[in-house]
């Protein structure tokens, strides 16, 4: 009697399915690299730059996943707070590392406030956190526009005419972050095999990773995992569920704000009204590509994801051009893949959630059968 036990084939199938998104992406990247004709050196340099640029942002997504709140589409809130910080330091003309640190200090209270608000709202919408946080992103974007497009100038003083629109108030569509361009990247840039590596940025990211590892083991981290497993059980165990959930979103938002500042110091220009909206989608897609799911994500997923996702991003226009003769097609392709990946990962997660229930039941039945047999 072992019909109920898992066969090897099923186990293998499970592993494949768990990593379906990553495997699919590996294939896309392999084909893309072959057809793009880029040299390995060029690709390596691009990947290093992009890993340094994006990792911090993506790591900020991990804590809400730990607390069972799914993918935090509300990370755009943090990004907006970071951008507000950057606008202020550009106006005050503070450059270099001090400027970045000051921007981070300015962004912290804004992020914390927005994160607290977001957490409060998400507590009212348990079970549909993702779609709610997604809409919160849009909602706060409206308020961000109100402040930046209309408030900055008449209400919040901005002196630098290079920042302000010609009509006299509101921030320009693109802000040149000349003062802090590559401020962090160039502190300790070393060259290895002809590739320039922004070591300082990587050190900052490594510190954040250490923090994450420590955090997972701390009291708060354990509480979050308990809440993520089962809210009712956690509440019975004396954990303040609502409070813990809010804290997880607040931390995530603050980290996203810092991540956005690191991202923009590398880019060097700020698209005042667009940067933050795209960043949420790209970060989430990258995390999912790395094999994370709605309820399970690790630091390894972040780095695998950011590498694979950006590899696809770099090669697809060129591959599209060489393959079909239209670079535009490759560009549409990568947009499609970014959205398709999120869709696929969400669908797989929901299907797996339903299937794992039946599977767990079946395995339990087999265990009990075995136990009965042994008794006999």
């Amino acid at each position: 009697m072992s019909e109920l036990r898992e066969t090897k084939g099923e186990k293998f199938f499970n592993i494949i399915e768990k990593n379906a998104v990553s495997i699919l992406f590996l294939i896309i990247c392999a084909v893309g690299i072959a057809f793009s004709g880029y040299s390995l050196g060029y690709l390596g340099q691009e990947i290093i730059t992009r890993v340094a640029r994006n990792s911090f942002l993506i790591i900020s997504l991990l804590i809400p996943i730990m607390a069972g709140m799914g993918l935090n589409f509300g990370m755009t809130l943090g990004a907006m707070a970071g951008q507000i910080g950057l606008i202020f330091i550009s106006d005050w003309g503070i450059a270099g590392i001090p400027g970045m640190v000051l921007a981070m200090i300015i962004s912290t209270p804004i992020s914390a406030l927005l994160g607290w608000l977001c957490g409060k709202i998400l507590n009212m919408a348990k079970g549909r956190e993702m779609v709610t946080s997604y809409i919160i992103g849009f909602f706060i974007n409206g308020i961000y526009q109100l402040i930046v497009l209309y408030g900055m100038g008449p209400v919040i003083p901005i002196k630098d005419p290079a920042l302000v629109l010609p009509r006299g108030y509101g921030i320009r569509n693109t802000v040149n972050l000349i003062g802090i361009r590559r401020a962090l990247d160039d502190v300790l840039a070393i060259r290895v095999f002809g590739l320039s590596i922004p070591l300082m940025t990587f050190i900052v990211i490594a510190l954040l990773c250490l923090f994450m590892v420590w955090f997972k083991k701390s009291k708060l981290g354990q509480d979050m995992r308990a809440v993520g497993q089962d809210m009712e059980v956690a509440r019975a165990a004396g954990i303040r569920v609502e409070h813990t959930r809010i804290v997880s979103i607040v931390i995530s938002t603050i980290l996203a704000g810092y991540g956005m500042i690191i991202y923009l110091q590398n880019m060097g220009t700020l698209n005042t009204y667009n940067s933050h909206m795209q960043i949420g989608m790209f970060s989430i897609a990258a995390l999912l590509v790395g094999g994370a799911s709605v309820n399970r994500a690790s630091i390894g997923n972040v780095f695998l994801g950011v590498t694979l996702f950006h590899l696809m991003f770099i090669v697809s226009p060129m591959a599209g051009k060489n393959l079909i003769g239209q670079a535009q097609l490759g560009e549409f392709f990568r947009v499609f893949v970014s959205y398709g990946v999120i869709t696929l990962a969400l669908v797989l997660y929901e299907i797996r959630k339903r299937r794992s229930r039946t599977r767990a039941g079946r395995l339990l039945a087999q265990d009990q059968l075995d136990a009965i047999k042994e008794e006999q």
Binding site: I121, M124, A125, K126, G127, R128, M130, V131, T132, Y134, I135, I136, F138, F139, N141, G142, I143, Q145, L146, L149, Y150, I324, Q326, Q328, L329, F332, F333, V335, F336, S338, Y339, G340, I342, T343, L346, V347, Y349, E350, I351, R354
Partner: protein, 347 residues
């Protein structure tokens, strides 16, 4: 007094605020030099343009599939119908009819696939619907480039292939419905009777359907799936049917929109079209699992009224166009309000 309070409660304070806001806009309008006739007819035209798209929310909400954030999928079916109708050389009013006929199989097919997908992800429909919409738009971006269209008004002149970003419907189905039985009162006030009649027809069809046996079953599935299953209703089939209806209505909705707007917007055009429709029906008093035709009418009138009135009135008062920001805050705030209501969460 209790009656008023009861009415207030059933109507909901956000709707009352929005209603009062709109009313005050209409009252202020003449004093700041905005023509009331123009505003009214603009509101009516926008109502006609968008109402069928908002109506596309109703079947899915009824069957418990939540808000149809996947509306872009239906819109794509409509775009295929419209472009094919032009491609096959139909002109004038006939092209509109043909567009509807050609869009129908796509709408039903997409709806069937989309519905089957949503049946596998019960409980997480809304987020997945959003991303189904996004990825289908992105997928069609590629398709518009490589599908073998060759009607000269639609393709890029220099490349000789690939559809343009915007295609004019002039000479095809521009204003087919707008001009049908159009009533002009005075100089400025125009009532697009045809478009409103068309919406009334569609709304009547949906209303009538919801009162048939299948329609009642749909409502039962939405309000209490366990009870529905106990009474022998095939839940998955009913849900798929509702999604097919929503998708088809989305296809028709975008055709109505285009015939008034004057352009077919391809590529990233349909990307954010779901959000205004979703918030319109919510402003009308619908919730995540309850919606009626009245909600559609009130919601679209309110939402489009605000969209029409704020730019002109605001511009005249403070010489700044803040309408875009107001639109974002109002529409997304409304969706948030609906998503966070306690009674709806424990479904």
């Amino acid at each position: 007094m209790t009656k008023i309070r009861k009415f207030m409660k059933s109507f909901g304070w956000p709707r009352i605020i929005i209603g009062l806001f709109l009313l005050s806009l209409f009252i202020i309008a003449p004093f700041v030099g905005v023509n009331l006739g123009t505003s009214l007819s603009d509101t009516l035209i926008r109502f006609g343009m968008n109402s069928v798209l908002v109506l596309a929310m109703v079947p899915m909400i009824h069957s418990g599939c939540g808000l149809n954030f996947g509306l872009p999928l239906g819109i794509i079916a409509g775009l295929l119908g419209g472009t094919l109708s032009i491609q096959f050389g139909f002109t004038g009013g006939l092209s509109f009819l043909m567009a509807i006929i050609l869009a129908t199989p796509f709408g039903l097919l997409f709806g069937w696939g989309y519905g089957s997908l949503l049946n596998r992800v019960k409980g997480g429909e809304m987020m997945i619907a959003t991303y189904v919409g996004f990825s289908s738009v992105a997928f069609m971006c590629m398709m518009w480039l490589i599908l073998p269209y060759n009607h000269p008004t639609m393709i890029w002149g220099y490349a000789g292939s690939g559809l343009r970003t915007t295609i004019s419907t002039e000479g095809f189905y521009l204003h087919t419905l707008n001009n049908f039985l159009q009533i002009q009162i005075g100089e400025k006030l125009i009532i697009p009777t045809g478009m409103i009649l068309f919406f009334a027809l569609m709304a009547f069809l949906v209303w009538a359907f919801l009162h048939t046996k299948t329609g009642t079953a749909m409502t039962a599935v939405g309000s209490n799936p366990v009870f529905a299953r106990a009474s022998g209703i095939n839940i998955d089939r009913t849900r798929t049917l509702s999604v097919m209806m929503s998708t088809w209505l989305g296809a028709i909705g975008i055709l109505v929109y285009q015939q008034s707007f004057g352009f077919i917007q391809l590529y990233m055009g349909p990307f954010y079209m779901a959000l205004p429709a979703v918030s319109a029906i919510l402003i009308g008093g619908a919730s995540v699992n309850k919606a009626s035709i009245t909600n559609v009418v009130i919601g679209t009138l309110f939402f489009q009224g605000i969209l029409t009135m704020t730019p002109s009135v605001m511009n005249s008062i403070i010489h700044t166009d803040m309408s875009e920001v107001i639109r974002i805050v109002v529409s997304n705030g409304m969706i948030l309000y609906a998503l966070t209501r306690k009674s709806e969460v424990s479904r």
